[in-house]
Amino acid sequence: MVSNASPASLPRPRVPWAVVGVTPFMIFAVLFLILPTLFLVVGAFQDVSGSFTLANLGKLWTPTILSSYWISIKVSVASAVMGAVIGAFIAYAAVSGGLPRWIRPTVMTFSGVASQFAGVPLAFAFLATLGRQGLVTIFLSFLGLNIYAQGFNLLSFWGLTLTYLYFQIPLMVLIVSPAIEGIKKEWREAATILGASNWQYWRHIAGPVLLPSFLGATLLLFANAFGAIATAYALTGSSLNIVTILLYAQIRGDVLHDQNLGYAIAFGMIVITGLSNLCYILLRVRSERWLK
């Protein structure tokens, strides 16, 4: 710190520590988060010479690209909805199911682990479980059920969905538990003493109160699955045409022979995950207002 020889009448300028402390983060965020994203978004609306065009977005409407989006959306919706339903049941059972007290912290810990166990190793785990030589496959064939003969294939829509469920279910448990904790036991008692049955309590009170959190969490799971690539890539190589794998191939080798089309694909992904996150936030605001 060098203090300038300022006129004695002026106080020495104070170092604005707050600004100094925040600046590195701001520079980082701009350079490595905001600019790269903006670059792609802008690029999606530019042609090779850099002038404005909607042609790139128009080119998304080709069968290969559309179907890759479609498969991605299907896998994400299926794994999000199934994960949300199963996860909500588990969370409810653990938080307010009247089970022994140790159940709840245990479920939360295991969920924390399982929700982070994704990527390439998860693909390996499911190959070892439901692959052609997998333990469950062999076990089922002992019972006379040859799932591969029945048309099951791990390297397919259902295979990927089942695999994604491994992190989607525990993620749901973690996200939705606070909302379930927010359900006061007095609400049930108040409803009961006013004459409501268990079903009427869920239909009129607990269901509507939990719905925004539940939908919000489902949207978050959707975005989570939609942007994932490592598990799918390790599981199926490039045999399953989901949008992240298409973009991966495009980045690696410009398989579409059109750089700006790559930007458009990325832009489309941002729009989809962005919208679902936006809805998630809106729903969360609504449920927090109720539960505060």
């Binding site: 983060f25 982070q116 390996f124 390790a234």
Partner: protein
Amino acid sequence: MKSNRLGHWLAILIGTLYFLVPLAATFEFSLRKVRGIYSFEAYRVVLADPQFQASFSFSVALAVVTIVFGMAIIVPMAYFVELRLRKLRPFIEFVTLLPLVVPAIVIVFGYLRLYNSSSLLPLTNSSLGTNFLLICGYVTLALPYMYRSIETGLRSIDVRTLTEAAESLGASSGTIIWRIILPNIRSAMLSGAFLTFAIVIGEFTFASLLNRPAFGPYLQLIGANRAYEPAALAVMAFMITWACMGIIQVVSRNTAAARH
């Protein structure tokens, strides 16, 4: 009521099975390398592979640098935002959630276009520059988790009062952060650090597209070429995840105990 509880047990049971069966299957599979008997041969092969050792230690180093770099920019930011710049909070919330909105593959795509050899800041020209880019990518990946745990830590102590108390005793900003704030949010930082470690160690997308010899691409390569070794690697990866989460549990439980 009783039949209800049966349903709850059933939900827990299904969850437990979904959690345990793939693990058991993976472990069983990893033992099958030598035909006819169970052995740890696959583990031995993997651990003896020089490429495994190189890529794994590379990723560990990446994770450590990511944690240090991430903390170095996030902690002061979170502290000053909590202390003086509350107006910035909505913007910070937005930025820290952005990595959950923009998929990793999109971010790395942006990096490749923005920092390639023909750009103003050609980071990908040297392996040092590319490593830096990779670390920046990992910091963005970890940002939501790191920020959230640090913010929670800062909120659980009364930052303003602590700072004012220290200032009234004549401490400088640097002293306050180093001697007062950091020790008080240590467990929050540790939680963030181990979560980051778990995320970074097997990360595939960034490392693969930036062509760095990290553990994630190595895993993928083995997966494409070997039969039993991937299962052994998956078991090991799972144990790393477990260790990180277990440490987080222990750390936060100790803090909770200390507060009571």
